[in-house]
Amino acid sequence: MITFMNNSDSEEEPCNERTSLMSAESPPVPSYQDGLQASEAGEAQAHRKRRTGSSRSPNNTADGETSDSGVPVRESSMENEEEELTLKYGAKHVIMLFVPVTLCMIVVVATIKSVRFYTEKNGQLIYTPFTEDTPSVGQRLLNSVLNTIIMISVIVVMTVFLVLLYKYRCYKFIHGWLILSSLMLLFLFTYIYLGEVLKTYNVAMDYPTLILVIWNFGAVGMICIHWKGPLQLQQAYLIMISALMALVFIKYLPEWSAWVILGAISIYDLMAVLCPKGPLRMLVETAQERNEPIFPALIYSSAMMWSVGMAKPDTGARRPSQQTWDAAEDGRENHRSPSHAESQMLETRSPVQTRPITSLEELEEEERGVKLGLGDFIFYSVLVGKAAATASGDWNTTLACFVAILIGLCLTLLLLAVFKKALPALPISITFGLVFYFSTDNLVRPFMDTLASHQLYI
């Protein structure tokens, strides 16, 4: 197993990238060429249930008291409404991210608990050469720190390499690299996973069926991730490859190294995203400057599509908001910002709250969603999976880590709503997760076990 890991440094690649969280909107540029537009944008943005089909005058008289004080007041009311909108959708986004993170963790924990293969020690990755089977505690600690240093430097080098490639527009190379790594994940790792699951449940499967299943799974996955596909299918594939990658890490990282690596990578993430010269920050900024989407294979997006029409609303057809999201199309990313600039079109925004109207002329499309890097999924699942695999307190520790990670994600999203720029998603969650893991395993577990043995409830 070690030898094949050797040739495939592209496997590392999905975990290097995007351990950051970005709001789908770039910071809104207030565009009030005249107060009228600004007030209208403000009104429309707030999703008020007014009939805006008529003339613009009711809108103006409605905010007549602010119209005297000129543009600055309108600006603050617009900002207020913008904030309100952000907070209103903030809760929705939190739920939209909770579900995939939870699903990924469930898949990983279920596999760890049932399939023995992923908890057996069968060698280590080339990136963590030092063994942990040492006689003394100090030596073990030293080895795990050295392993961490090597692993983090590999990740840093790869990330910097990727950012340089992106900056110098070597798109073909990057696409080739991404395609190769997702090929390997979708075919090879799935084959191994399927093999182990079948072995565990003692189910026989012949090779032709296996080839058919894996070929279909892999081919549809490649198309969905790198080209076009239904949003939910793409999300499902991204969750599956994150889970597979996390399982590989759980299997091949020795115990103490895994914890130290988790800690170190959250510190690295913090620096890479927030420091002005951090590679991830430069990647995000370059992508935003060029108005291009960051590679779909590396980011999970919870985007929904909203179609806003120019003419009178077409009350006949009201389709649900989730439509196919073309991951690779560049132009859509421009319309992340709330449509201040396109305020004239919002005149006929429907009074119905949640379902947008799909009119025949789809002039503007607006995405509202939050993006989370796949690296975040992977490391969250590694933490919970390791807790499930190694904790002797079994389920309590796993659950505590799960709750801690979700709360960390919630706090990160809250900060995202406040700061409105790309933020690292790893530090808070991983810190909470690590604190809860160690404290639950060592403190809570004996307490709960003693209580349970006497059948006491607290």
């Binding site: 707030a46 008020r48 008529s54 207020n80 904030e83 309100e84 907070l87 307190g393 079994d394 389920w395 309590n396 659950l399 505590a400 709750v403 801690a404 709360i407 809860f436 404290s439 639950t440 060592n442 403190l443 809570v444 004996p446 307490f447 709960m448 076990d449 003693t450 209580l451 349970a452 006497h454 059948q455 006491l456 409830y457 607290i458």
Partner: protein, 227 residues
């Protein structure tokens, strides 16, 4: 759930420290320390419930100020219900999940002389506890809101009583039955606190349509008449 976990963490820290500082061999002392640990845990849970109430109240005010009509989208009662339910779920899950996991594996219950009804009684106790936490959440928040401190005291006392009753445990008649009685009473109290009454139940069961009060609002609006 997070708040409950933190309270549990602190309580187990206290218990752990006390156990380590004491004599391990003395069984009575250890049992006493366990009782002490459980009591501390109950008190800390209630303290954290209060802290959560404060946090939610602040969030409620924030949501109310930025919302369209000056009221927050979630009422405090709904928050009380959700908070109680989540405390109950995490508390129940922590109590019972290891037992459930063990119940899958091969084994015989009570082979060393303990009660053979361990699993089923654990299941019932957990259910009672989850329901109780939900009810306590509703009553607690309402009591804090209206500043009825005797209600608060009563909630804490009933939590302590319930936990204390589980100490009688292999004697299930003395522990399960009173706990279920307490659950029922607390349930009724929470129902009344949340504004329920016999009439409400009847109305709910008869599936009456609510009056369309919205019609009034629309008819109050008039488009300015243009000459």
């Amino acid at each position: 759930a997070f708040f409950w976990l933190v309270s549990l963490l602190l309580a187990s820290l206290i218990w752990f420290v006390s156990v380590h500082l004491s004599d391990r061999e003395d069984a009575r002392l250890q049992y006493g320390l366990l009782i002490f640990g459980a009591a501390v845990s109950v008190l800390l849970q209630e303290v954290f419930r209060f802290a959560y109430f404060k946090l939610l109240k602040k969030a409620d005010e924030g949501l109310a100020t930025i919302s369209e009509d000056g009221r927050s989208p979630i009422s405090l009662r709904q928050m009380a219900y959700v908070s109680g339910l989540s405390f109950g779920i995490i508390s129940g899950v922590f109590s019972v999940i290891n037992i459930l996991a063990d119940s899958v594996g091969p084994g015989i219950v009570g082979i060393h002389g303990d009660s053979p009804y361990y699993f089923i009684t654990s299941a019932f106790l957990t259910m009672a506890l989850v329901l109780l936490h939900t009810f306590w959440g509703v009553i607690f928040f309402d009591a804090c809101e209206r500043r009825r401190y005797w209600c608060l005291g009563l909630v804490v006392a009933s939590h302590l009583l319930t936990s204390g009753l589980t100490f009688l445990n292999p004697w299930y008649e003395a522990s399960l039955v009173p706990i279920f009685v307490i659950t029922l009473c607390t349930g009724l109290w929470a129902f009344v606190t949340a504004g329920g009454s016999f009439r409400n139940i009847l109305k709910c069961l008869s599936c009456e349509q609510e009056d369309e009060s919205r019609v009034m609002m629309y008819s109050a609006l008039q488009v300015p008449f243009e000459d």
